[in-house]
């Protein structure tokens, strides 16, 4: 499933952070402003109280009925002057007849007619007059509210605009990606030409570079595949052509002997085609194999001995002497079926390429934590420059000078190589003992110790 839209995620993140930051600012401002406003207004209250007290004895003369309403907000403030704290002398129009607050010194809070008031009380020096100055708390709150509102409204207005801007910005920022997509969508499967990394912005350039590298690898794999297919076609056609040719020769033969020879050729050709098909199938299966099941403990010595027993009659018939040198038990972790194919291919190859009277020496040993399987022959060997190409698919050796060359499929060692890969084993090719022939060494890791 595709990840959520990049654009939506960006908008959510940016808007979320913006709102959070703004709210934080709002809360901080609210607290600060409320505190500052409190102090400032308290100062005013105290100041007002002090002003009233400063009238001293004149307080008696103030005509309470004539304290004018100078400002509409004056309703929110009130004051009282009490003689000796008990007789109400002067008060503002909106002040009640009772004391604004029972507290006689400093700030206090009181409720009158459903309104909360902040009250400041003070005595004059002679404790003759008690002055109480009050202010509706709602007046203070409305100041803070107005301030916070003025902070929040722009945010509410800005959020959709910000969202739209991000939407557009991200959209235009993603344009190179869309162009890339269009370019890739327009391609057919075979088109692997590299993308132009210069046309991508810095953030996308690495992606383009990686894509190009991927294209290159796919191209290489495809070329390898094509070559392999061509080789396989070649290898399949040749025995079929031989079959067809021998059949035609048999049909046109004038003598029984010539016909028989051609018919023998057909039989041999069919056997070879079958063997080739078998090997190609094996290789195809191995190619798709990903270390099939759990490996088992395999006693390599016994496995090789069984394979040798199977191949010995053919070697005897060819007068090639086969010797097995497997002293101690060597047990590895591996796939017995595949290891048997590996051993069979190596030994079969050796017998095949060794002329009559030659020797094939097979040894199984433990060495440095690995099992070492060596198949050496004293046949014609392989020129040093060809050693590196052994194991390449369909690569066949030149016939030994003068000798009747064996007709392999050119796949045997490829199969060995692939099975070795599946066992994380190494295959090494070298000259045989005394520089004669060929010695193939397979180093299998995962020695399981003596069973």
């Amino acid at each position: 499933m595709a990840q959520a839209s990049l654009r939506r995620r960006l908008i959510a993140v940016i808007l979320g952070f913006t709102v959070a930051a703004w709210l934080a600012v709002g809360v901080y401002a609210f607290v600060e402003v409320r505190h500052e406003a409190q102090e400032l207004l308290d100062g005013h209250l105290a100041q007002s109280a002090a002003l009233i007290l400063a009238q001293g004895d004149d307080l008696e003369e103030i005509d309470t009925e004539h304290v004018p309403l100078l400002h509409k907000d004056m309703r929110r403030t009130a004051f009282q002057v009490w003689k000796r704290g008990t007789r109400l002398r002067v008060h503002s129009a909106n002040a009640p007849d009772r004391r604004l607050s029972p507290v006689e010194e400093g700030f206090s809070r009181a409720v009158h007619e459903g309104h909360a008031w902040r009250v400041f009380s003070a005595w004059d020096e002679d404790r003759e007059y008690l002055v109480q100055v009050a202010e509706r708390e709602s007046a203070r709150a409305s100041i803070v509210e107005a301030l916070v509102e003025s902070l929040l409204w722009p945010l509410l207005a800005a959020l959709p605009l910000l969202g739209a801007a991000i939407w557009l910005g991200v959209g235009s920022g993603l344009r190179p990606l869309r162009a890339l997509r269009a370019e890739l969508a327009g391609r057919d499967a075979g088109s692997l030409r590299p993308l132009d990394p210069a046309s991508a912005p810095v953030e996308i350039a690495p992606l383009v570079a990686e894509l190009n590298r991927l294209f290159e690898r796919i191209e290489e794999a495809l070329a390898r595949e094509r070559r392999l297919t061509a080789d396989a076609a070649h290898e399949l056609r040749t025995p079929l052509a031989a079959l067809s040719t021998q059949a035609q020769v048999a049909r046109r033969a004038h003598s029984a002997a010539a016909r028989d020879e051609a018919l023998d050729g057909i039989v041999a050709g069919a056997e070879r085609a079958a063997r080739l098909a078998e090997q190609m199938l094996t290789l195809a299966r191995l190619d798709s194999a990903q270390r099939p099941d759990a490996p088992e403990r395999v006693e390599l010595g016994r496995l090789v001995r069984d394979v040798l027993a199977e191949l010995a009659p053919a070697a005897l018939e060819k007068k090639v002497e086969v010797v097995l040198d497997a002293g101690d038990e060597v047990t590895v972790e591996g796939y017995p079926g595949l290891l048997a194919i590996l051993a069979r291919n190596l030994i079969d190859n050796a017998v095949r390429y060794t002329p009559s009277g030659g020797h094939v020496r097979v040894s199984v040993r433990a060495a440095d934590g690995a099992a070492r399987l060596v198949v050496a022959d004293d046949g014609p060997g392989v020129p040093a420059e060809e050693l590196g190409r052994l194991g390449q698919r369909f690569h066949r050796l030149a016939e030994p000078a003068g000798g009747e060359a064996p007709s392999g499929s050119g796949l045997g060692l490829s199969i060995v190589q692939r099975i070795a890969e599946l066992h994380r084993a190494r295959v090494a090719y070298a000259g045989g003992p005394g520089g004669k022939g060929l010695a193939v060494t397979v180093l299998l890791p995962g020695l399981a110790g003596k069973a």
Partner: protein
């Protein structure tokens, strides 16, 4: 006609050789490029059937070497590689024809006959000289309108002379062009064939150039 088959697959090589022999060719078979190079340097072949994927010396390399030393022997590439690029590469390297395996022996034989014919500058399938008409494909000969039956070897000698009408051919040349390696050849075999041909056609059709060889004139004597 003598053909060199270059094919590394023993079964196919042997079969191609046998099939060509059945079609009336003298075919030699070698299994690698180096051996083919040596054979071509030593023996004049009418044509070469060449596989491409050869050990020791690759088919195309052999072809390049052949053309580099101005050897114009017609070469027919017979390979399992059927891709257009392979065909183009082969023909551009100097091959005269290209066939893909598997193949029919009849077609291979016909293409070889056509290659040899073209190499000798004849467009039609039948060779005509000195009143003799020889059809290599149908294996028929007529002299002055009269059909003449010829055994295979005599037919081959006559064809070689007609292919080279107006030119003197040595006894060795005829021998090399007629017999493959390892065949038992009597020292006077060619003379015997010539003798029989003169009897069946007319004595003056083949002239003896003393100490050099034989010649079939372009025009009737």
């Amino acid at each position: 006609m003598r053909i060199l088959v270059v094919e590394d697959d023993p079964l196919l090589g042997r079969g191609t050789q046998a099939g060509l022999e059945q079609s009336g060719f003298a075919a030699d078979w070698v299994r690698d490029g180096a051996a083919a190079d040596a054979a071509l340097a030593a023996t004049p072949y009418h044509a070469v059937v060449l596989d491409l994927g050869l050990p020791r010396l690759d088919g195309l390399a052999l072809l390049a070497r052949l053309r580099a030393r101005r050897d114009r022997t017609p070469v027919l590439i017979l390979t399992a590689r059927d891709a257009v690029e392979d065909r183009v590469k082969g023909l551009d390297a100097g091959a005269d024809d290209y066939m893909v395996k598997p193949f029919r022996i009849e077609e291979l034989a016909a293409r070889l006959r056509a290659l040899v014919r073209r190499a000798h500058g004849a467009a039609g399938p039948a060779l005509v000289a000195a009143g003799v008409t020889l059809d290599p494909a149908a294996h028929t000969v007529a002299f002055q309108g009269r059909s003449v039956e010829l055994p295979a070897r005599e037919f081959e000698v006559l064809r070689e002379l007609m292919l080279n009408a107006g030119r003197v051919l040595t006894r060795e040349h005829l021998q090399e062009r007629l017999y493959r390696w390892g065949e038992e050849v009597e020292s006077n075999a060619i003379d015997v064939h010539i003798h029989h041909l003169r009897r069946k056609l007319a004595p003056e059709v083949i002239r003896t150039i003393r100490g050099v060889g034989y010649l079939l004139p372009r025009e009737p004597a």
